[in-house]
C-alpha cells in the first residue's frame, strides 16, 4: 500500500482509511506492507497491529509542491524496490495521485497489478482547475486511473465524477465505502467535564463542526447560519475543530457575525480528544460543498451524536434523511439552521436518529467488511 499520509502523519481521511484498511487486511491473515513518508518522532520502520510500515525520508526537496511530490515518489520507489528484493508482493494499492508515480513504476517493474483508490479529485477539491499545477495534477489523476487495473472509489457520487471527467469505463470502477472502527467511540467519558473545557455550560447546547478549514468544507455557511441558530436556540454555542489556510478568514467571519463569543475555534485536536468532544456534542454539522465520502458524518454517528449534513456527494449516500440524520441544502445557511433546529428542538426524534445511525454503521461500515470487498478487487486483478 502506498500513501503519502499514514499515522502519525495524519490530517485528512486518507491516513485513517489506509490505517483501517491495512489493519483489517492484516487481521484477516494477509501480509500488508505500507510505504509512506516520514514524520518527526515516528520510526523509519515499525509493525502496527501486524502491518509493516516503512517511512521514507525525502532526501531532496523543492519549493514547488508538484516537483516535491515527484521527488518523494522517487524515494518511495527506491524503498519499495529495496524491500521487494526480500518480499514477493501480489498487488500494489495506491491511494490518490500523490503516490501514483511510484505505484505505476512498480507495476511495470515487478509486473504486478495496480489498484488505485481515488479519494477525491483536483477538480473537486479546487472547485475547478485554476492553475497550471492544478491542471498537471488533474492530468496525473487521469493517468493514474488509466494505468490502474481497477479503480476503487468510496461513493456512487465519486464514481459518477471520475467516469465523467476521466472517461473511465464503468466496469473498471468498484465502489467500496469508507469505514470506521466504532469500538473507538465506546469509551466512557465525563461529558460535563469535556464540555466545560470548551466553555459549554450544563444548560447550553454544543453545536460541533469538525473539518479542515478550507473552502470545500463549507464552514463559512455554518458561520452565516449562527445568527439564525442562536435566535432559535439562545443556549447554543458552536465549536469548530480543525486546521487550514482559511482559518483567519473564518475567524473574521465569526467576529463579524455579531455572535463571535459563541463561536470557538480549537485548531487541530488529537483523535482521542476529538472523539470525546464528538461524544459530548448535541449536534454535529457537516456543511461541506464538496465531499466524495464524508467520513466525519460516520464518526459522528458512531459517537452517537445527531448529524446534520449537506445534501451533496457521498454525504447524501451516507446519511438517510430523517432516518439516520438530517440532510440540508449545501451553501444554504437558512437550511443549515433549520437542520440544527430540527435536532435541538426534538430530543426524542434526535435519539431515534442516532439509534438508527449506530445500527446502520455496524451493518454497513465495518473495516472487516470493507477489507473483504477490497480483497475481492485484488482477486479480480490478479
Amino acid at each position: 500500500m502506498l500513501t503519502w499520509e499514514f499515522p502519525p502523519r495524519i490530517v485528512g481521511g486518507i491516513a485513517r482509511h489506509c490505517e483501517g484498511l491495512a489493519k483489517a487486511l492484516a487481521h484477516l491473515g494477509h501480509e500488508v506492507h505500507v510505504f509512506t513518508l516520514d514524520f518527526p518522532g515516528a520510526p523509519d520502520y515499525e509493525e502496527m497491529n501486524g502491518v509493516k510500515v516503512y517511512r521514507t525520508v525525502t532526501e531532496l526537496g523543492h519549493p514547488n509542491f508538484l516537483t516535491w511530490a515527484l521527488l518523494f515518489n522517487h524515494f518511495l520507489e527506491k524503498r519499495l524496490g529495496s524491500v521487494s528484493q526480500q518480499v514477493k508482493f501480489d498487488v500494489v494499492h495506491v491511494h490518490d495521485w500523490l503516490s501514483a508515480p511510484a505505484g505505476v513504476s512498480f507495476k511495470y517493474g515487478v509486473k504486478k497489478p495496480l489498484v488505485l483508490t481515488v479519494h477525491s479529485t483536483e477538480i473537486g477539491r479546487a472547485q475547478g482547475l485554476h492553475t497550471p499545477d492544478s491542471r498537471a495534477i488533474d492530468g496525473m489523476e487521469w493517468w493514474a486511473t488509466y494505468e490502474a487495473n481497477k479503480v476503487i472509489v468510496t461513493s456512487g457520487s465519486m464514481k459518477g465524477e471520475i467516469c465523467g471527467h476521466f472517461n473511465l469505463p464503468d466496469d473498471k470502477i468498484r465502489i467500496i465505502p469508507n469505514a470506521i472502527d466504532s469500538t473507538n467511540y465506546h469509551a466512557s467519558i465525563d461529558r460535563e467535564s469535556i464540555r466545560r473545557r470548551y466553555g459549554i455550560g450544563s444548560n447550553e447546547k454544543l453545536v460541533l463542526c469538525v473539518g479542515r478549514l478550507v473552502p470545500q468544507k463549507g464552514i463559512e455557511h455554518l458561520i452565516h447560519a449562527v445568527p439564525n441558530i442562536v435566535w432559535r436556540h439562545p443556549e447554543a454555542k458552536i465549536v469548530i475543530v480543525g486546521e487550514g489556510w482559511l482559518k483567519g478568514h473564518l475567524e473574521y467571519l465569526a467576529r463579524s457575525s455579531g455572535h463571535g463569543w459563541k463561536i470557538r475555534f480549537t485548531g487541530f485536536l488529537p483523535d482521542s480528544e476529538m472523539i470525546a468532544l464528538m461524544t459530548s456534542a448535541d449536534v454535529l454539522v457537516v456543511p461541506s460543498i464538496y465531499e466524495p465520502f464524508g467520513i466525519v458524518a460516520l464518526e459522528g454517528m458512531a459517537a452517537g451524536v445527531p448529524v446534520v449534513a449537506s445534501y451533496i456527494g457521498g454525504l447524501a449516500e451516507v446519511v438517510e434523511h430523517d432516518r439516520t440524520g438530517i440532510l440540508v441544502y449545501s451553501k444554504n445557511p437558512e437550511s443549515i439552521a433549520w437542520g440544527v433546529d430540527r435536532v435541538l428542538s426534538d430530543p426524542g426524534h434526535s435519539h431515534w436518529l442516532t439509534e438508527n445511525a449506530r445500527k446502520m454503521i455496524q451493518k454497513t461500515y465495518s473495516w472487516e467488511g470493507i477489507a473483504k470487498k477490497t480483497l475481492e478487487v485484488y482477486k479480480e486483478v490478479k
Partner: protein, 82 residues
C-alpha cells in the same frame, strides 16, 4: 491549493517541500532566500508569525538562526494540500 493562501502559509509549504521538517535539516534565512527567491525582510516577517503560531521552530544556538517545521506545521501543510 488556492491562490488565496496567505503568503506566510505559502512560505510554510515551501519550507516543507524543501525538506526543513526536522532539526538536522533546518535552514537559515539566507538559505530560505536562495530557495524561495523571496525578500529577506518578508521571510523574517513570515517566519516570526509562523513561530508565533507554533508551526515553525527556531534554532537559536548558532550565530544565525535556523528554522524547521514542527509536527503542527507539517499537519498544517497537509491540510493545505489535502
Amino acid at each position: 491549493m488556492s491562490q488565496e493562501v496567505p503568503e506566510e502559509f505559502r512560505l510554510l509549504c515551501m519550507l516543507h517541500n524543501i525538506g526543513a521538517i526536522k532539526l538536522e535539516r533546518s535552514l537559515s534565512v539566507q538559505e530560505i532566500c536562495e530557495w524561495t527567491a523571496m525578500e529577506t525582510s518578508s521571510i523574517e516577517l513570515h517566519l516570526q508569525k509562523l513561530v508565533e503560531l507554533g508551526y515553525v521552530q527556531p534554532i537559536e544556538a548558532e550565530a544565525t538562526g535556523r528554522y524547521h517545521l514542527t509536527p503542527d506545521g507539517i499537519r498544517k501543510v497537509l491540510s493545505l494540500y489535502s
